[in-house]
Amino acid sequence: MTTEVTKTAATTPARSQEAQESTRGVRVFRPLVDIRESDSEVILAVEMPGVGPDDVEIELDRRVLTIRGRGRLTSPEGFRLIYAEYGEGDYERSFTLSDEIDRAAIRAAMRNGLLTLTLPRAGAAKPKRIEVKAA
């Protein structure tokens, strides 16, 4: 039995479990989300610890809402990681919105690593009045 252990550089083949390969080379996590609804709006709470307000990217492409967060990686000078229960990295999650949402009025607030997205419902679908002209 060899007492000398040779370390080979870890190679990470594209994994199916990690949805995206980040250009940063960090893992991409799916953040925990709470979805609540009141009469006038839908509220999303997205947990992204280590992500500041400037590190959040919210994209709305037609009906798909994509939330991305760049996590701050802890790497204190002169310290060595000896025990880890959680991993650090980026966050990403997508949602399909219903047509009821007033897209222009979506609000986002980031505090303590928690992103709160408020999606107001468009005024109760106003029936479109179609004028009938005498032919």
Binding site: T8, R36, P49, I82, Y86, N112, G113
Partner: protein, 143 residues
Amino acid sequence: MVFSPFLGLTRDPFAMLRQIEREFDRALAPFAVAAGYPQVNIWQGADSIAVTAELPGVEPGDIDISVKDDVLAISGERKLPEDAEKTTWFRRERNYGRFSRVVELPYRVDPDRVEARFRDGLLQIELHRPEEDKPRRIAITAG
């Protein structure tokens, strides 16, 4: 992962076993039984220990940190949003309520020299070893 019968002969024979272990840990990570909340990472420095924890959505005022000898205790509360009662819940993945976690450190630390920082939901605690506990270097005299 490519399994080759010849791989073990030229390199460390246990590398493959370790790789399998790592793959399993990674695959089972979402189901891992949490040792408690919050989950912590521990870093070791020259004469200090850093403990980091993820506490998103918690106000720093709702976190209590206490230190005694070689034990660090982190407790607090994850509060429900204020308007929670007026809303209907569609999906609840986050957990709420009081939490308490005890972390055993590799050595006794000085409770007067503990620094804690909280930013963007990340808690970072730095703990220092008391002066008298630091290992003393012993000089060897030729004799």
